[in-house]
């Protein structure tokens, strides 16, 4: 469960990214955040994984009040709440397998478990044959699939995706969305920021539409015009 309770976020003195917003996301839900650039979509995602803290209000992930978590607990939050970025954020000098293994190494899993789990997760994103490739040897779509594999390899309960298809062609975007949709069906909560009208409309999921830091609309099985 993710809860935003009267959250406002200002950058510096006069830029307000979010203005007193409240919403709740239940476990295993799939939610799209939509709206123009600067509407506050990325700020919401970054508040959930404690890259940012709210200026006012509270953010909860399950029982944790995220904005009050001590620094030492932030890594444990981020193991539950994984992030998929538009620019992938892969380790360029590590192979595909090593990039995915990072999520398991930080959990202290043994090498045997890691090898097995990496294979299984890469199979989910259809990249098992590219385990020894470096990110530079992959297409953009494949790189995003590696990032998704890394995000779901560990103990992820929530997947945050910030424009994951923003750099991809339509066909590849659909492949990525299918993978994310499957991850959601397996029980992971997904919150995805997107500009892509076609994708949002075709999925018929809950849509939270933002504009200038306010929620304009929050509807289940909605469309985005």
């Amino acid at each position: 469960m993710i809860l935003f309770d009267s959250v406002s976020k200002s950058y510096g003195g006069n830029i307000t990214a979010l203005k007193n917003i409240s919403f709740k996301v239940e476990n295993s839900e799939f939610v799209f955040l939509v709206g123009p650039s600067g509407a506050g979509k990325t700020t919401i995602l970054r508040l959930i994984n404690r890259e940012l803290t709210p200026t006012l209000g509270s953010v909860f992930v399950d029982d944790w009040e995220v904005n009050k978590l001590p620094d030492a607990k932030i890594p444990f939050l981020r193991r539950k709440v994984a992030f998929v970025f538009q620019d992938f954020k892969l380790l360029s000098d590590r192979t595909v397998g090593e990039n995915v293994a990072v999520s398991l190494e930080i959990l202290g899993k043994n090498q045997e478990f890691i090898a097995e789990r990496v294979k299984r997760v890469l199979d989910t994103v259809h990249l098992e044959e590219k385990i020894s490739f470096f990110p530079g040897q992959l297409s953009l779509g494949e790189q995003q699939r590696v990032a998704i594999a890394r995000a779901i390899a560990g103990e992820t309960k929530v997947l945050l995706a910030d424009e994951p298809t923003g750099n991809l062609d339509p066909k590849t975007s659909w492949e990525i969305l299918k993978i994310i949709s499957k991850i959601n069906k397996d029980g992971t909560t997904v919150i995805m920021a997107s500009h892509n009208v076609d994708i949002v409309n075709s999925m018929k999921k809950r849509v939270i539409e933002l504009s200038e830091g306010k929620i304009l609309r929050d509807q289940k099985k909605s469309r985005y015009n």
């Binding site: 994984n49 890259e51 620094d71 030492a72 890594p75 444990f76 939050l77 981020r78 193991r79 994984a82 992030f83 954020k89 892969l90 380790l91 590590r94 397998g97 090593e98 990039n99 293994a101 990072v102 999520s103 190494e105 930080i106 090498q111 890691i114 090898a115 990496v118 890394r150 995000a151 560990g154």
Partner: protein, 302 residues
Amino acid sequence: MATPFNLTRRLRRTPYQVVASVFMMFITLFVLSLFLLLVASTSSLVSYFEKKPQLTVFFTNDKDKASVDLLIEKLKRTGKIENFKYISKEEALNIYREQNKDDPLLLEMVTADILPSSLDISTVSPKYLNEIYQMLKTEPGVDDIVFQKEVVDTLISWANTVRVVGAIFVVLLVLSTFFILLTAIGMKIAIKREEIEILKLVGATKWFIKKPFIQEGLIYGSLGASLAWIVSSLLLLYINPYATSFLRGVGTLKLVSFKWLSINIWPINIYLILLLWLVLLISGLAIGFIGSFYASSRYLKE
């Protein structure tokens, strides 16, 4: 599968930094080992000489045993005497015979009558030597007094100089090593800033991120310590013949003595070499750990 922080790969990527760090660690630990050996040997030597008879009083022929006993009682009452040994004319002759047993001519010419009786005296502390010397000088029947105060004073002065100069050198070198480690690890952290940010985003703890840098510091420490130990051991073996000649007559110089373990600094032995390795390794690992821990904590601050 290699880990993302594969250590050998990381070290291979920055060979000059590795060489500079290990070399600096080697120099520091090598100087530390010289310092420790010098301090230990001079301290042992001072202690050895302090326990030797430090005053030898030679008596005139008319001084009989009874008056020597009275003198001994007088000395005992001062509370400044650790032990003494009276050597009668006959015992002096025996010593003379032992020393000159290969020269029959010298043996024939000497009888007990012409050798003086003497008293070997050790004081509780070298600082009482002069006081006892002044007291004995005025005693009737005292012909001559020989004492090793100057030898001991010179040794103490040497030992103090070695301690001060050595300690200053070691402190300066340890500081230099810290700065080299800070720079080397700081540069690596700067190069890997993006990677570190990604690791933080996927849930890596600070310790997980610091660990490889600390491992690097420990590697530098153990390599530097091993090199310093090899060079120091070779140096000890090289100077052994010269030291044997210099320390002729000096028996065993104890460094550590427990119930079940006794390690001598002289003659040079395998236990001393092993102890040196242990001390250098612990020092190297400590410098490497503290330096890299401090560097990674400082540069990984959010």
